[in-house]
Subunit: 126 residues, 2 copies
DNA sequence: CGGAATCCTGAGCGATACTG
DNA sequence: CAGTATCGCTCAGGATTCCG
């Protein structure tokens, strides 16, 4: 992918920059919590607290932290309703939704190979 | 996905077990290094050292660690050639190859939205 | 060369408390 | 309810060393 080595031709500055940016984005996105959040938001818009117990296992802190990151990258949109008590809703943007399709496939993959993997683990652990 | 809440119907034990297993697998696989390794192995079989400098940024330790994990889950196959010096090659298994298709899409996704994301970041950081 | 083991540091994360 | 801030600790993970 993204992991090529360039030497010194003309437009390389741009290429390597785009490349390192791509790696950075990949690293942001290729993490457990981010993907689980995206997955949860695929169904519908959710509030902060709905996400907190929807994603199970995630801490308050990790949730905000990842939501900020996803917002920064333009994958989720944050909507504050100025009511009291406050109500903040998170929605996938179009890039986020595209990513969601892939988390979906990952879920499908996981279930498809559950048996293989479980078996392989037993073999390995012996 | 995987994050449903069950109450107490008959065959729930199995369902929740499969579910927690699925979450575990997902967590194993949804990590930066694992996915980058899979991506690298997509092209062709690679030796340990080829992976080490192919994946760039990964440490000796992280590489072995992740390779063990991937092997355990049956996503890569480890082949030791009893020569001297030793020669160890890693190949994707069929489940691994299926996963690779998804990392490929992720790479495609990354490049497709590079612009969007970069722009969104600039907006956010202001 | 590939891998295991050891040591050591700091980022990551949970827990808690405080604001609007 | 949502978010920020602070503290403390655990443990991920880098550097190094040794083995087959």
């Amino acid at each position: 992918m993204v992991t090529k080595q360039f030497e010194g031709s003309p437009a390389d500055a741009d290429l390597t920059r785009a490349d390192s940016l791509a790696r950075e984005i990949f690293s942001d996105v290729a993490n457990k919590w981010a993907l689980l959040i995206i997955e949860a938001l695929g169904e519908r818009t959710l509030r902060f607290s709905e996400l907190r117990d929807g994603v199970e296992g995630i801490s308050h802190k990790m949730l905000t932290q990842n939501l900020r990151m996803l917002e920064r990258n333009g994958l989720v949109e944050r909507n504050v309703h100025p009511t009291v008590p406050p109500r903040v809703e998170y929605t996938l943007t179009e890039p986020g939704r595209a990513l969601w399709e892939m988390t979906n496939e990952m879920c499908g993959w996981t279930h498809r190979y559950l048996g293989h993997i479980e078996a392989s683990r037993r073999r390995f652990d012996a």
